[in-house]
Symmetry: C2
Subunit: 140 residues, 2 copies
């Protein structure tokens, strides 16, 4: 599917109006395999307004288009959600991200079975986030 059409489809599905900044931001996520930070996007879309970008990332997150990819760095990064995520429930009770020590990219890994982590005594576990680091496909 043409990337433009796919962007429009996603925005419509989530009840977000189709606007120029939203289209170009979403396009970035669709065309990169790795999670993107605010800064990454600013560098790729030169004429984007800083504040619009903040707000777009926030509304994308709220509507289940993207999710914050925990990767152990101080800079928040975002990755596309699976289509099964919705406004009301991100299906991310158990999530796996991989940060490459070499290229510093963070990847959202789908479809790997995550073993249950033994709950520490007295704690009630609701969700699990796993951050692996090492070398990614390209760098190893």
């Amino acid at each position: 599917m043409a990337i433009q059409l796919e962007c429009e489809k996603i925005l419509k599905e989530r009840g977000l109006r189709i606007t120029k900044p939203r289209m170009s931001i979403l396009e970035q996520f669709l065309s990169h395999p790795n999670a993107l930070s605010h800064n990454d996007i600013e560098e790729k879309i030169l004429d984007i307004d800083r504040i619009t970008l903040y707000r777009t990332l926030k509304s994308f997150e709220e509507k289940g288009v993207i999710h914050k990819a925990i990767d152990g760095t101080d800079k928040p990064k975002y990755a596309l959600c699976e289509s099964s995520c919705s406004e009301h429930a991100h299906h991310h009770d158990s999530h796996l991200h991989f940060r490459c020590d070499d290229c510093n990219h963070t990847f959202c890994i789908e479809g790997v079975a995550i073993p249950a982590i033994p709950a520490p005594e007295g704690y009630h576990v609701k969700g699990t986030d796993i951050v692996l680091n090492g070398l990614c496909k390209n760098c190893s």
Copy 2:
């Protein structure tokens, strides 16, 4: 052991000079079970200089006194290292933290066996960080 003595011992072991700000910062870590953010410490030690705190946290981290506790929030938090950590090697290839959804405290969990996470195809895994969330001992 008196807490003062313990602080001095740790600082000496790591080759850090014993100073007033370092003592009071380290004291905070020793007297709280949870990981502390920059802000947490500023609130507890009222007369501390902001920049000194930044620099102290950095040197504590470099010398293996504390480590950054990845907990999925945007605010870096720090927790005491086990004594087996050193300047040259943090023993944190596999680390587990727990963030409570209720009190928002982050705990560094020691002594729980962490199952190996299956490495995604093509990736070379060197370290694993796990962030559990849910309810901590006090809140459940």
